[in-house]
């Protein structure tokens, strides 16, 4: 295999060639590194790019399984007291804390969205407020990846604090869409999506509060999983809106997404909102899935007004593919979803205002003047909706009223899932928009979350997969994608349906395009 092609393999295939010995771990990292050197800066993918020299401690060879004598795995959970003595290799700086010497992801480059704390790495959450913040501990989900031998492959660009649908709210400049650099890649996990789409990494982590994994996955043509709320620990990930923050990732294929979730998911004693439910091996048996007994729901409210024609037709195409495989498709109405945007922007703003209160200028070396416009807007809005406590009627804040409305939405989804196994919808009302097109019109930008936020409010899992391509009115080719929504904790079902629907040729189109443009 040619060195340059190694970076084009999926995680599944990479693990295969590693196992067979065809390719070494250092060859994998080198292959990715050469693409990073050419593409990362022009697309502005990383806030802290991967540093191959630091990873290999200046020498050429990377740690191979046989060379290490370290204990294989770390404790189950992050050391909250931070009093764990450093291992010798950590103290010498040859290995990052938490990095293992074997495991299911041994030697696999994983890029972390920059709101994931990884000990000793800078963690900015895309904001200048945290520009100099070096994480003193590691997020549980990151720890689980590193424990399996993953290599920390840079920290990716994002809308500051996760606030945004385009990546343009990053204080470190916007990430560009590799399909056409005049367009946004979607946000807020913009750097992570582009890192996977442009083959700069094998796995990129993300967070999804209202669509921040799903939207950029759709806009760049990669797979994005937003797990059920509470499926993956939030401990150690800079909070945006705590009641909807979901911890997921972006990958090249559905199998890859399923494999990674099997590692990150599960109860964490440091996150009281995580579930005890057992974690299946999500990646097993994906191909054997037969959709003929599947009941698919199409939400009528998501297939009409406000949704572009090209988006609708791409969704319909995916639905007919399921029909052809004898799946039963029914229309379901969930009128409660119409209030999704309003509910989300009230709940989210309140929690954002609360979660950002700690950046008060006393710690972290930067005062509040470093907050960007979008954060300020949400802090103001959130403070407002929490300021109307009626004396003696404590529960009647705007926030509390919306929290009750949230219960209605949850009930509505429950009823829908009594009738169908999964719901299939578009991801965004439009194909990617241009950089600068919506940045001065926040309300219009917020409307882009129309189809993703109801899922977030209800805490449901959703998977986004590329299903083809579509041309916008200017004739620019973009990936088309669908959102598959499942009942709580039924990620297993989403991966099965997703594996059936995913069109791997979409990524191939982008690769050829990048080869031409960047002379790879």
């Amino acid at each position: 295999m040619k060195a340059r092609d190694v970076a084009l393999l999926s995680l599944k295939d990479t693990l295969e060639v590693l196992r067979s010995g065809d390719v070494s771990r250092s060859e994998i990292l080198n292959s990715y590194y050469s693409r990073v050197q050419k593409l990362a800066k022009p697309l502005n993918v990383f806030i802290t790019p991967p540093d191959l020299a630091a990873l290999t401690d200046g020498s050429v060879s990377l740690p191979e399984a046989q060379q290490s004598t370290d204990e294989p795995a770390l404790a189950d959970s992050p050391d909250a007291s931070s009093k764990r003595p450093l291992k010798k290799s950590e103290a010498q700086g040859t290995k990052r804390p938490g990095e293992a010497s074997s495991g299911q992801l041994f030697g696999i480059p994983v890029s972390f969205k920059d709101n994931w704390l990884v000990k000793d790495t800078r963690t900015t959450a895309g904001s200048r407020v945290l520009e100099n913040f070096i994480a003193p501990y590691t997020a549980t989900a990151a720890e689980r990846l590193l424990r399996e031998g993953a290599v920390v492959w840079g920290k990716t660009n994002m809308d500051a604090w996760g606030h945004g649908s385009s990546g343009e709210n990053s204080d470190f400049g916007p990430t560009l869409n590799p399909w056409d650099t005049r367009y946004t890649p979607g946000g807020s996990s913009s750097g992570s999506a582009v890192a996977v789409a442009a083959d700069l990494t094998l796995v990129a982590t993300g967070t999804d509060t209202g669509g921040s994994i799903r939207l950029p996955a759709a806009y760049t043509g990669v797979v994005g999983i937003k797990p059920t709320y509470g499926r993956v620990s939030r401990y150690g990930i800079v909070a945006m809106a705590s009641s909807t923050d979901s911890i997921g990732h972006l990958t090249k294929t559905v199998w890859d997404a399923a494999y990674v979730l099997s590692i990150t998911a599960g109860r964490d004693k440091y996150d009281a909102t995580t579930s005890d439910k057992p974690v299946p091996a999500y990646h097993e048996g994906l191909r054997q899935f037969d959709p003929s007994s599947l009941k698919v729901g199409v939400i009528s409210e998501f297939m009409g007004e406000g949704i572009d024609e090209d988006v609708l037709s791409a969704t319909e195409k995916a639905i007919s593919k399921l029909k052809e495989a004898s799946a039963q498709v029914v229309e379901v109405s969930i009128p409660e979803t119409r209030f999704g945007i309003e509910m989300y922007y009230i709940l989210m703003s309140a929690e954002v205002a609360s979660n950002l209160a700690r950046y008060d200028g006393v710690r972290y070396g930067r005062d509040r003047t470093y907050f960007g416009m979008e954060a300020k807007r949400r802090i103001m809005l959130g403070t407002y909706v929490l300021s109307d406590v009626i004396p003696g009627k404590g529960l009647e804040t705007t926030y509390a009223k919306v929290a009750m409305g949230r219960t209605l939405l949850v009930e509505a989804f429950k009823r829908a899932f009594e009738k169908v196994d999964v719901l299939i919808t578009p991801v965004a009302p439009t194909l990617p928009f241009k950089l600068g097109e919506l940045i001065d019109d926040p309300l219009k930008m917020y409307m882009g979350d129309l189809l993703t936020v109801p899922v977030s409010i209800a805490g449901l899992p959703a998977l986004v997969v590329p299903t083809g391509t579509a041309k916008n009115e200017e004739g620019v080719l973009f990936p088309a994608a669908v959102q598959i929504i499942g009942p709580w904790f039924r990620e297993d079902l989403l991966f099965k349906v997703g594996a059936f629907l995913e069109d791997l040729s979409v990524h191939q189109i982008l690769r050829e395009k990048l080869d031409k443009e960047f002379g790879l």
């Binding site: 996150d271 008060d360 404590g394």
Partner: protein
């Protein structure tokens, strides 16, 4: 009538209390750091959670919840099966998250009361929250020590039912004792593990509506200072009202050196705190059975011990004395089972009368001393006759009373007899002799 007295004639004092008690759990409220923080090097008992670092999440301490239930139950509160933690927002350098996790909407306990004699003082709520860090001011620098950040803190809030500072003191003493009995806190006022905050307002006598303001006084570390602060505030506020001036709703600090209170900041109202159910902590649910089981392990309360002692026939003052001296009472209780034949009524009185300095002696020695003092001497007949005759001669009025049918007079004469003897004696023969002599006088 002094000026202050005239104020008391015209105005009525209204006091409600907020009392904070730090629990002595092993670990902090929401993380695994040790909760003990006295004399610990600054910022050593800290972790991402209690430092409020980005990404850190709170996980509630079950023991702290159980202990708070014990306090709530001891104060006759209704214990909620559904409890919730909320975020209370305000900016202060010792508050690393920009909010304090507390219980606003669904506290551990509500609607309790404490009885002091015939008076009943209502408890509004008992809830659990986290303590803040500590500011240390050195020269022109302010430093923050986060060892205390996240230590479980119980807040007990009363209704504004107090009208007399003496009742406030009595209440606080009993509350302090109760917490010590439960063994859930050191309740050390000096160290600040128990903090007292009276909310004071004043209204014209005869007025039934609550005043529209209240003044909260902080930084008080003794029961006597609470009384002083209340008295000072009453005079200050009543004077303002008499002059027709409004009293500002504010927080004031107490200066023990001058006995005065000084303004600190304008008191905030609920909306300023922007209470938000903490989305990081799922609501805590207990079944009635679980609550009953937790409470069934509660140790004896001061009032319960007092009642038990009274049933044993122990004098009221001696009973209270023992109840307030828990260690002594614990030893006393052990003896109750070990030597059931002992004169416990006498021992209780003896202990209560033991000078403070001697109380630190080993309990066994105190008991020995008591027993020694109980050794009764039997006086011979001649001595009895000699002293009794003297007493009868010198107390003609008591003698006359007796002859007129007042049986009690004999007790008086016996007392006079004892004053002359000045040791423990068997009084039976003395009484017999006295009666014989007196009855003889009647016949004669």
């Amino acid at each position: 009538m002094s000026f202050v007295e005239s104020l008391y004639q015209e105005y009525e004092l209204i006091v409600g209390l907020e009392v904070h008690v730090e629990l002595r759990t092993k670990s902090k409220m929401f993380c695994e750091c040790p909760a003990y923080h006295f004399g610990v090097a600054p910022n050593t008992n800290v972790c991402p959670v209690c430092l409020g670092l980005p990404g850190a999440l709170p996980v509630p301490n079950r023991k702290a919840l159980e202990w708070t239930m014990l306090i709530a139950d001891a104060l006759n509160c209704k214990i909620n099966t559904y409890q919730q933690f909320d975020r209370k927002h305000y900016f202060y350098p010792d508050l690393p998250k920009g909010y304090q996790i507390t219980q606003f909407y669904f506290p551990v306990g509500e609607h309790g009361f404490v009885k002091l004699g015939d008076k009943k003082f209502r408890i509004r709520r008992v809830h659990l929250e986290e303590d803040t860090g500590k500011l240390i001011h050195e020269g022109d620098k302010s430093l923050v020590d986060f060892n205390r950040s996240g230590v479980p803190l119980v807040e007990i809030v009363t209704e504004p039912d107090f009208r007399d500072p003496a009742d406030v003191k009595e209440f606080l003493k009993l509350l302090h004792l109760t917490v010590k009995y439960l063994g859930v806190s050191d309740a050390d006022l000096e160290k600040g593990s128990m903090r007292l905050e009276p909310n004071i307002s004043v209204r014209k006598k005869g007025e039934t509506k609550m005043p529209s303001y209240k003044v909260e006084v902080k930084n008080i570390n003794s029961f006597n200072f609470v009384v002083k602060a209340i008295e000072y505030e009453f005079a200050r506020q009543a004077k303002l009202l008499r002059e027709g001036k409004p009293v500002a709703q504010e927080t004031r600090g107490f200066d023990p050196a001058t006995g005065k209170t000084l303004p600190q900041r304008r008191k905030e109202v609920a909306t300023d705190y922007r209470y938000l159910p903490d989305p990081d902590i799922p609501p805590v649910k207990f079944s009635r059975q679980e609550i009953d089981q937790i409470i069934s392990k509660r140790p004896e309360l001061p009032q319960e011990r007092f009642n038990r002692y009274r049933k044993l026939g122990i004098r009221e003052d001696a009973a209270w004395f023992l109840v307030y001296n828990k260690e002594l009472a614990d030893n006393f209780d052990k003896l109750l089972t070990k030597e059931p034949g002992l004169d416990f009524k006498g021992l209780a009185v003896f202990l209560a009368n033991t000078p403070e300095k001697k109380r630190s002696l080993p309990f066994d020695r105190l008991v020995e001393e008591f027993k020694a003092s109980r050794q009764k001497e039997t006086l011979d007949e001649q001595t009895i006759a000699k002293i009794a005759d003297e007493v009868i001669e010198q107390n003609p009025k008591a003698v006359q009373d007796y002859l007129n049918g007042k049986q009690n007079a004999i007790q008086f004469l016996l007392g006079q007899f004892m004053r002359r003897v000045r040791k423990r004696i068997d009084v039976g023969p003395v009484i017999t002799y006295l009666r014989k002599r007196l009855d003889g006088m009647r016949e004669g």
